[in-house]
Every structure is written in structure tokens, then in C-alpha cells.
Amino acid sequence: MAGSIKDQVAIVGVGCTKFGDNFDQSFEDMLVEAGFAAFADARIEPERVEAAWLGTFSPYAGNGKASVSLADALRMYGKPITRVENYCATGTDAFRNAAMAVASGMYDVALVAGAEKLKDRPMRGLGWEGGHPYQHDGLTAPGVFAMAANRYLHRFGDRFGSGRAALAKVSVKNHHNGAMNPKAHFQMEVSEEQVLNAPIVAWPFGLFDCCPTTDGAAAAVICREDMARAFRDDYVLVKGLGLAVTSGRPWYDAANEYVGFAATRAASEQAYRMAGIRNPVAEIDLAEVHDCFTWTEISNYEDLGFCRKGEGMHFIGEGRSALSGDLPVNPSGGLKSFGHPIGASGVRMIYEVVTQLRGQAGGRQVRDAELGLVHNLGGPGSVACVIVLGRP
């Protein structure tokens, strides 16, 4: 029987760089900016941090490899630092580990940072790292999700008309939200027509169905719940945590229906149980979910229990996940518009939910936000991390 750390850990400071083509910032520059922003937000001296977790997915040119990447950036030496890598769930899993360490009583105050510098690379777009050198030759990140999307559309696409049009609505919504976010990579609206007519990246995904390749870093300072008020009144509590891992080679599983992600279903069940959530769509006020591709967000609605399998296209079509809907999803603009520096994304989602729960989200503020959900989905939908955050 899994235990619970509900209401034992508080987020007292968050920081985030502008996401985008940060050509003039190094990996360390971004970590410094996000880290010290989080320290300032928590009104804490860096020396008070007792332990840190760094989430980075893909080290390059000496950056992001092991704990030293954070130690050297912040000049934080002699303390326990752990680097976490868990595909695109890297940032949330780093947070999850830090939260459990604080809840255990081992540390009073900890730092979680996520960073990724993708724009220094010679590659175009997100390749497929870590796969077998020729068994998996030909796979790309969009291709991996496109194979699932095509199966999904084959099975459910006809139910609500054109499947690609439903996918496009996710892009339109997230760009709309991102246009109101000064830290987002792309602060611009797109039309459904633009999305549908964009060049194809991996069928059925066009350019505007795919999140961009982005630089960025985000950080959070967490502490024991009973210390939180010493830092600030509007702290945010960890209500639920879940992490679930399924096969990293879903294409070989003949039992896989290939229309969604069991990892998200299992991780959200864990998090909902800890948080005491029985009816997610009614209880959760906003969700930052992993929209690496438009269809992924549609599957997320279903896998997170916002609606039934096959009805996600309806959920977007009816505007239920819009800012004005009954469960706004990705008010930040999501990966689609905010960008997706992989290790940073999960921590950036936490940054957005904390900002929303504090009521500081400006034009994209979700009204009366009390309970927010964060969801990362990594690999070919194999690693899911769900975090529920709430006001005290």
C-alpha cells in the first residue's frame, strides 16, 4: 500500500526564464536566472538550500550531465545534488524525488531545477535519442506519437468528423493562451486553417501540431509544510504525486491498442488517490498537461479521466479545456506555445500552476483556482508523472 505525503511539502518560490531561442544564454546562464529567481521569490538565501535535484534530459557539450551541472551553475558545492533523467517526465520526476526527500524529514529546504539547451545542437527538431541504433532507425519524437495518433484516428476519427480538425483546435487554444504569456516561446495566435495547412512533419501532425524545440530553465524552492509560512503566505502544497512507467518499446506489445497511454492512467490514479480526488473534471480547476503534439493533449484528457477514451476530440471541440471552459488545460500555452526544453518543462508547469494558484497569471488567469494538475509524459508515452498542487 503506497503511502501519502499529502500536505507535507510546500512550494515557496518559483522561477522561470523566458522560453525560446535563447541564443545568448548558456545552459548555466539559464539555470542561474531560474534558480536565483526562485530564491528571490522565496526570499531565501541560497545557502539555506540543503539539497537539490536537477532535471535534464539530454546532456550536450558538457552541460546537463550529472549533478555538477547544477553545482557549477549556482556555485552550490558540498551539498547533495541528484540529476534526474526520465524522458520528458524528467522535470516532474525531479520535483517528485525532492518532495519525497523533504517529506521524509531528511531536508527542510530543497531546490528543484530543470533545464535544457536544445538550440545549440546540430540536429533539426527532436530526434529519437537512446533507441536501438538500427532497430529504431527512422523514429523521431513526432513520428512516435504520430503512430499512436493514426491508430487513434483510425479507431475514433470518424466519430466526430475530421480528426485532424480536432487536433488543430488544441493548437489554436494553446497558441491563444500562450499569446498572453510573456515568457512563452511563441506569443501569437494561430487559426485552425493555418494549423491544417501547415507542412506535414509526421502524418497526421503538421508543423503547428508539434511543440517547438526550445531553450529554457525553471526552478522551485520547496520546504516542509510547517515552515512554509515563514517564507510567504501564499505558498502552494503538494496534494498528490504519481509516477508510472510502461514499456519504452510500445510498438512491440501486441496487446497495446495504441490509442492512449496506460502510464498516464496509472500515474493519475496514484496522484488522485493521494489527493483524495474522485471526480477530476469537477474538482481540478486547471491542468498543465503534456501537449508535445496536439493529439497527445486529446489522449491526455482521456487518460487523466477528464472524459472517456475516444471522447477527447469532443472535449476540445466543446471548448471544455479552453480558458473559459470548465477545466482549462494549458492556460500557460502548453508545450505547444510555451515551448518544450525537455528537462525544464515539468518544473515550468509547476511554475505556471503555482502562479495560477497565487492569482498572478494576468490575462490568462483561471478564476478561483484552488487545485491544479501537472502532467508530464515521457518517451513513447512510457513514463508519466502527475502532480496535484493546491492552496493550503
Partner: protein, 461 residues
């Protein structure tokens, strides 16, 4: 009695119309089209595809590969083909090359090995993909193809009546170790003194050896160097053109070392019981055989699917690409060796508890989680498309790259690239076959793995 126990051909699906080549150079066009390898094919992969149907009949104890365009100077293509055909490690493998008659030289060696009692069944597979220099006559003339023949002493399709050879170091066509393209003294002298003199001498020698008259020959499989010379040679041997196999210059092209066995297979397929077949191949001398058909042919499975290159530029790009591209990872021989059973022989694991056939090879069952005792089992090389994508992001010589998830006949789900397909025709449920192809080139090596392609029409699993 020894002879032929099976035959098979492989023609790449890509076609290049000669008028497009001619137009690129402002030259008069040769008629027809030629068959050409896709960017992921070479002589090894074509020869493996030709050998596979014959290897499946079992009992193959030796495998020979013949080509003038083997992908390696040092590394046995025959051994890789044997593994990809899932033949046992004790298979005697041999590589033949150096001459356009290397296929028939290998065939003679295989027949001799069977006659000597050294092996019971031997498989000979030959292929060529010779690249003519841009703007040369060879560029339009040469085509790519493969054929395989199995020989033995039981279950004969055709009995060997006689074999003969002739050695003649006559310099009419050659390629040095440093040359990318064939060089030649193309002239009437070369044709008469080289080609005609050698094949006629061997043909007449066979008539004498077997005590047969030219009019007894029902079919002649006479490989041609230019699409015409074989007719003159047949005439000199006293055989009318009607009995000479079409060398397929008009729809395949002059297929190098693959051609003699290809024409032999074609002749055997058209033969009736009792027909005498004369097979002749030229190259630095000549090889010849007389076979007597022991059945009526019509055993070849037709693969009518073709894809035309729309322009000369695309053809040229892909023709260069498969020889010169890079970008793949360097892979250790430790990994390659450890995964040979899985990745080359294409074995998965069968769970004795729940019956799940799974790929890759597993120690713990993916369904019932039984630990240990899973049984190695070859996967079927046929299946249906479960899902796919058409990926324009992946850096490939032709876009999009089609990635396919395939449910294999008899169990196992597989991920691979799809090749030889018009992307517009890809849909869930498409019947596919797995074919060995060259993957992204490593910094210092070729890597071979499986792709899928639409199954030939009318050969349902």
C-alpha cells in the same frame, strides 16, 4: 542424378525510364526502362531476397553468393545472407566475384560439391547492381536484379546433363579495384572475339559432350552483354531466336552477374517436362550447362509492383546516396554479434506458459511475466500494418520515411521502416512482407536490418 531443386528471382521495384536518362543528357533514348535498386538495396540484399524462398524449403548445407558489386571487399556477404536466411552455423558459405560469370561459376562449384557428396543441397544466389558512369551507354543499359538456384540430388526440377567452362583473359570489360564504374573496349571486335567466340565454343563443347544436336535444345538462357549479341551467338550455335530467352534488356536491363541465373530461372519456369535447356554465361571466358527439365515450370511468384522514378535527378541522387551517405551510429561488434539471432535471423521468444510470441527476444514474458524458459522462435516475415506514420522530420534521401508497426502472421508485433511504397498508398491493414535492407550508413560500415514493404499481389500468406 544431380540437378536443380528450386529457383527464384528478385527484381527491385524501382524503375527508371531510359528516355528520362537520355533527356538529361540530350541524347537519343534507348527503348524501355530498367530495374534499379532502391536507396536501401544492394547486391547483398537483392541476393538475400532471391535466396529466401529457397532457403525456407530446408536442408541447405551450402550457400554461395556471386556478384561483381558485393558491398564488401572483405566480409562474406554469403555468411550474412545465410544468417538472414536463418541457415545453421555449419552452412558452408562462399563468395564468388570478379566476373560476370561468377554466378554460373558458383553454380558449377555447387553442382560439383553435390556430385562429390560434400553437401546434399546447395543454394547459389547472384545479384548485381552496376552503376554506369553518368552519360555513358552503360548508365542506361545496366539494370539491377538477382536470382537464386538450389541444387541437390533429390526432388529435382531439372537434371544436369553436362557442364563446361572456358577461361579467356580477354580485356573487353573490366573494373579496377579503384574504379566506381565499368570500363570497356566496346567494339565489334570485342563482341566477336570476346563474347561470341567464348559462348559458342562452350556451347559447341556441351553439344559434343552430351551428344545432342542444336535442334534438340528447347530453350537457351544466354546472358547478353548488350541486349543483342546473344541472338547472334545463338544463331552461330544453330538455335533460332524463338528459342532464346528474352534477356529482359527492355524492362530490367543488363543485370551483370545476376543475369545468367535469372535467365536460367526464366527458362526453367517456361520449360515443359523433358525440355533441354542450354544455359550460357560470358565473362573472361564462359560457363555453360545443359539441363533437362523434369517438370512443367510456372513456379515463379510474380511481383508486378513497380515504382517509377519521376525524374533523372531523383534517380541519380538515390543511386549515389546508397553508396556515399553516412550519419548512422557506429555500432560495436559486441552488440551486433549478441543480437544476430534477433536482428538478422529475426527470432523472437515464445512463452511456454501463455503462448505469446514476442519481439525482441525476452527473458521475462511480456504478457504473463513468466521468468525463464522462453523458447527462441523464428518470426514470420509476413504481416499486416497495425499503424504507421509518414515522417518528414527524419533525415532520409526520400521523404517521407514511413514507419510501420506490423502485426506478423503467427504472432509478434514489429517496428520497422516501410520501403518500396508510394506513401499515398499506405494504410492500416496493408499486407506486408519483411525484406532485408541497408540501414543508415555508419561511419565505417554498412548495417543491415529489416524493413517492410507491400506484399506482392496474389501471394497472400
Amino acid at each position: 542424378m544431380i540437378g536443380i531443386t528450386g529457383y527464384s528471382i528478385y527484381v527491385p521495384r524501382r524503375r527508371m525510364r531510359r528516355e528520362l536518362i537520355a533527356a538529361a543528357w540530350g541524347a537519343p533514348a534507348m527503348p524501355g526502362c530498367k530495374a534499379v535498386v532502391n536507396f536501401d538495396e544492394d547486391s547483398l540484399t537483392m541476393a538475400q531476397s532471391a535466396a529466401w524462398p529457397l532457403a525456407q524449403s530446408g536442408g541447405v548445407e551450402a550457400l554461395a553468393f556471386a556478384s561483381t558489386t558485393a558491398p564488401y571487399w572483405q566480409r562474406s556477404a554469403a555468411s550474412l545472407i545465410a544468417a538472414a536466411c536463418d541457415l545453421p552455423a555449419q552452412t558452408a558459405t562462399a563468395d564468388f566475384g570478379g566476373s560476370l560469370r561468377s554466378g554460373t561459376t558458383a553454380l558449377r562449384a555447387a553442382l560439383d560439391a553435390v556430385a562429390a557428396g560434400s553437401v546434399r543441397t546447395a543454394l547459389v544466389t547472384a545479384a548485381d547492381c552496376r552503376d554506369g558512369a553518368p552519360e555513358s551507354a552503360e548508365e542506361a543499359l545496366f539494370g539491377d536484379a538477382a536470382a537464386a538456384v538450389s541444387v541437390g540430388s533429390e526432388g529435382l526440377i531439372a537434371e544436369l546433363v553436362a557442364a563446361a567452362s572456358r577461361s579467356d583473359d580477354f580485356p573487353d570489360e573490366w573494373r579496377r579495384d579503384t574504379d566506381a564504374h565499368v570500363r570497356s573496349f566496346a567494339s565489334k571486335y570485342s563482341l566477336t572475339r570476346g563474347y561470341t567466340e567464348n559462348v559458342v565454343a562452350v556451347g559447341r563443347g556441351l553439344f559434343e559432350k552430351a551428344g545432342v544436336q542444336p535442334e534438340q535444345i528447347a530453350r537457351v538462357a544466354l546472358a547478353s552483354s548488350d541486349g543483342r549479341a546473344h541472338l547472334a551467338a545463338a544463331k552461330a550455335l544453330g538455335i533460332p531466336a524463338a528459342r532464346v530467352e528474352d534477356v529482359r534488356a527492355g524492362d530490367i536491363g543488363i543485370a551483370g552477374a545476376g543475369m545468367p541465373l535469372f535467365l536460367l530461372a526464366q527458362a526453367l519456369d517456361r520449360a515443359k517436362t523433358g525440355d533441354l535447356i542450354l544455359a550460357l554465361a560470358y565473362g573472361d571466358g564462359a560457363d555453360g550447362f545443359l539441363f533437362r527439365s523434369m517438370g512443367d515450370g510456372a513456379r515463379l511468384q510474380a511481383d508486378s509492383a513497380t515504382i517509377e522514378y519521376p525524374t533523372y535527378q531523383i534517380y541519380r541522387k538515390l543511386r549515389e546516396y546508397w553508396r556515399t551517405s553516412g550519419g548512422g551510429a557506429e555500432i560495436s561488434n559486441v552488440l551486433l554479434r549478441r543480437e544476430e539471432t534477433q536482428n538478422v535471423r529475426l527470432h523472437g521468444s515464445l512463452c511456454p506458459q501463455c503462448g505469446l510470441l514476442q519481439f525482441p527476444i525476452a527473458k521475462v514474458c511480456g504478457a504473463c511475466h513468466r521468468h525463464g524458459g522462453l523458447i527462441g522462435k523464428a518470426l514470420a516475415r509476413r504481416g499486416r500494418l497495425f499503424t504507421f506514420t509518414k515522417d518528414f522530420l527524419y533525415n532520409a534521401p526520400v521523404e517521407p520515411t514511413v514507419m510501420a508497426v506490423v502485426d506478423l502472421d503467427g504472432g509478434g508485433r514489429f517496428l520497422c521502416q516501410m520501403t518500396d511504397v508510394d506513401p499515398a498508398a499506405v494504410e492500416i491493414g496493408t499486407e506486408v512482407e519483411l525484406v532485408l535492407r541497408r540501414m543508415r550508413e555508419g561511419p565505417g560500415d554498412h548495417y543491415y536490418y529489416w524493413k517492410c514493404r507491400p506484399a506482392p499481389a496474389g501471394t497472400g500468406s
